[in-house]
């Protein structure tokens, strides 16, 4: 290969400076002024994610979050949508396991008006029973749609079969048909009253803003918001354990959607940085081992990848690929082979340098937009990470060496106890899976 052209001197880039203060009511306010921007992103995080709901009410966090955008005591659903959208603002409100997030992106000139509407929505939502019934029906319809979608079917089957009975992480954070079907608007009202409160909430603004003016506006809109949130429970991420194969039969499938993995790590795991580098090398970039083998060498798939999903408690470690039906067993064999190889074969210096340099170098691209910067503050707020987290991120990635990758691979990649779940046509793949004997095989119908 002819030598690549030399790089010029790097332009210095550092994560933008931000300020953080707590209002008297406990609300944490994070301000990231970005000069020369037209837009500003506003994210309001509350401790109202799925980890804050009671298990018999699974799905209430998601439904409550969605219900918020259907109006306020002053403005009904139609009026709230029109008022916000006439400012060019599309308000979003959604929940994940560890938080709920409401927010918007707006031209800087509409920040004040947008903040006022966001505050009104959070503090005095309409929580209308007709709108609640509609959203619940939409969620039940969405569950039907998920069952027809092979990728979503595999995602949901994987966590259901991975976690032990009764562990919340065994279902999607938006809830299951059984629990969603029984929820009522009173549940949403109670959830809102108990979980949406300033003491555990964080308001993040990034982009076109003047700090003093923004603070004044925030004090005016949210300074007299009062209350204390119940907070989240602690999830014990027990799994069923043991290597086994679960085939979710989807007749007529021309591909098998594979999900292979086991328990991963939580957000505070000290191995997070080496695990991030290792996962990138194994299945996080185009030139990763999984993608090179299954796609670029064998042509079995359009893409193979893997990831951790660190939450307050341990989310799954999952490898993912949709493979042609005819090569299902071969693809699983190759995939498991790469997991073994990750444990047994240390990465070369160049291989490691490539992913490390990517994770370090891609830094300015990740934070190009105001939404990207606001999103980067979120883990600091939700997980209480140190303020210098992004300032020190690059050196901590840089410090991951071959020994660290190998050590973390041996700890965190465990094909011997992997759950191998796939959706596919059982009439075409069952026999070869039996012959391949990757583990005890269970065939179940799609729900």
């Amino acid at each position: 290969m002819i030598a690549r052209p030399p790089a010029a001197a790097p332009r210095p880039y550092r994560f933008p400076n931000f300020s953080r203060q707590r209002l008297d009511n406990g609300l944490s306010v994070w301000l990231v002024p970005l000069p020369e921007r037209e837009l500003v992103s506003v994210h309001l995080l509350t401790d109202a994610g799925a980890a804050a709901e009671d298990e018999p009410q699974a799905g209430i966090a998601a439904l409550t979050a969605q219900l918020l955008v259907t109006g306020t005591q002053r403005l009904d659903a139609a009026a709230f949508a029109e008022t916000t959208e006439r400012l060019g603002i599309e308000v979003s409100s959604e929940s994940s396991w560890d938080s709920a997030r409401a927010g918007f992106v707006a031209l800087g000139e509409h920040l004040e008006a947008g903040l006022a509407l966001l505050a009104e929505m959070i503090r005095t939502p309409r929580l209308d029973d007709g709108e609640f019934d509609r959203l619940r029906a939409e969620r039940l319809n969405d569950i039907l749609q998920a069952r027809a979608d092979p990728g979503r079917l595999a995602d949901e089957g994987f966590i259901r079969e991975l976690y032990a009975e009764g562990v919340p992480y065994g279902r999607v954070s938006a809830g299951s048909p059984e629990t969603v079907g029984s929820l009522t608007v009173d549940d949403a009202r109670a959830f809102h009253a108990g979980r949406y409160a300033p003491d555990r909430a964080h308001l993040i603004l990034a982009g076109a803003l003047d700090e003093a003016a923004a603070l004044t506006s925030i004090e005016r809109q949210l300074g007299d918001w009062h209350g204390a949130a119940t907070g989240h429970r602690t999830i014990e991420p027990r799994t069923r354990g043991g290597r086994r194969v679960v085939l979710v039969d989807r007749p007529g499938s021309v591909q098998s959607e594979l999900r292979v993995g086991h328990l991963g790590i939580d957000r505070h795991d000290p191995r997070l940085f080496p695990a991030t580098v290792m996962a990138a090398l194994l299945g996080g970039v185009f030139g990763s081992r999984l993608n090179l083998k299954l796609r670029e060498e064998l042509g079995y798939t359009y893409g193979a990848r893997c990831s951790f999903d660190p939450r307050r408690a341990a989310g799954p470690f999952t490898t993912t690929a949709a493979v042609q039906t005819e090569v299902t067993a071969d693809a699983i064999r190759e995939l498991l082979g790469q997991l073994d190889r990750m444990r047994n074969e240390a990465p070369g210096e160049a291989e490691l340098a490539e992913v490390r340099d990517f994770l370090i170098g891609v830094f300015p691209l990740r934070f190009e937009t105001t939404a990207g910067v606001a999103g980067a503050i979120e883990p600091l707020a939700v997980y209480g990470l140190p303020d210098d987290y992004w300032q020190t991120y690059r050196e901590r990635i840089e410090a991951v060496d071959i020994a660290a990758v190998q050590s973390v691979a041996r700890d965190l990649v465990r094909p011997d106890e992997a759950l191998i779940l796939l959706t596919g046509d059982a009439s075409r793949v069952r026999n070869e899976l039996e012959r391949a004997a990757f583990g005890p095989l269970e065939v179940i119908p799609a729900p």
């Binding site: 599309e90 992106v105 969405d142 069952r147």
Partner: protein, 425 residues
Amino acid sequence: MLDVPIERHALGNGLRVILSRDPTAPIVAVNLWYDVGSKHEKPGKTGFAHLFEHMMFQGTATVDKGQHFSLIQAAGGTLNATTWLDRTNYFDTLPAHELELALWLEADRMANLLPAMTQEKLDNQRDVVKNERRWSVDNQPYGSWDERMQALVYPEGHPYHHSTIGSMEDLSAASLDDVGEFFATYYAPNNAVLTIAGGFEADDALCMVERHFGAIPRNAALPAPPDMTVEPILGEQLRETVPDQVPLPRIYLSHRIPVFGTDEFDALDVAADVLGAGRASRLYASLVREQQLAQDASVFAFPIVGGASMFALWVTARQGVTAERLESALRSEIDRLASEGPSEEDLERVRNLRSAQGAGMLERIAERADRLSMYACLFDEPERIQGEVARYRAVDAGRVRDALQASIHDRNRLTLTYVPAEAAP
């Protein structure tokens, strides 16, 4: 609205070069549009333009297979490529000091692809693309909609009649000779636009472009563009029902409309947003929130430039709602807008949504570069980027009504209805 800085240049070999400096940006985007898409494919070769795009990542005489990705990513960059009806685009975004790396790699594959091409690479990427098709079309609920829509809205033989992903048979038939011929025909500097946006010095960038692209020979015999002529409207109502492995019926409507770049297209772009953008849109408010017949609603005018474009809508029925009932409610919303036109409130809403989206587009360097390449490639006028929000905002109620009455009616409508199959095949 910020003004986008634009400098136009051209090399001796015909490569058009667009520079858009943003001295504060720590990153730089390199974006190439080749004036070749699936509309240029010959009969029996559907899917080839896209398969060829995959071959562009398979290494050259200079750079090994996989190295293009590796080098850009190790520099902290991201990259990809896409193929659509009118064009193929390749894009690299990376820290500003690595600009020359991306230029070198893009020039290298424009010049040196063929000596390293092998049957093994073609067979591998053919399998990958077939799996891409299985994943996005054949194994996906409703996955065949755009293929069916194009086949019915454009007549047999029209370059938009077939889908970009192509058929399995045609992918199987693709040969190394096809790769060579396609490369020699279309991957020439005088058939491409190169845009650089972000943090760089213009003089430095131009020197680099000249150094890496300057010696690549032009194709003196670029083929004439394909004949895109088509009747402006269908002239009839077409209907097709598709039994599929889906739990809920979904209705797709499509219409022939004037192409991207015309005043009528801009008016229909506004109409699409009045009907389908946001929770205050006509279809969301009526079908999803008030009547609760639909699970979702989307409306889209395709930004394509050959002969006629498409104005498409789709809505998914809630459980228990028949396709007939939903279709009738959908049509009455469309007809009401066509006869009355949008209100001033409708227009204020979609204009302000578009202004915010326009600002969101400009804050992403790669998006800015891609739009500059698009306007240069399709219209030879990158400056169109400056006026795109203004053109949208200039559309008034009368223009929306006129454009809807001209194109969005039963004599120009395909109705494609997906219904749950009685039993799995």
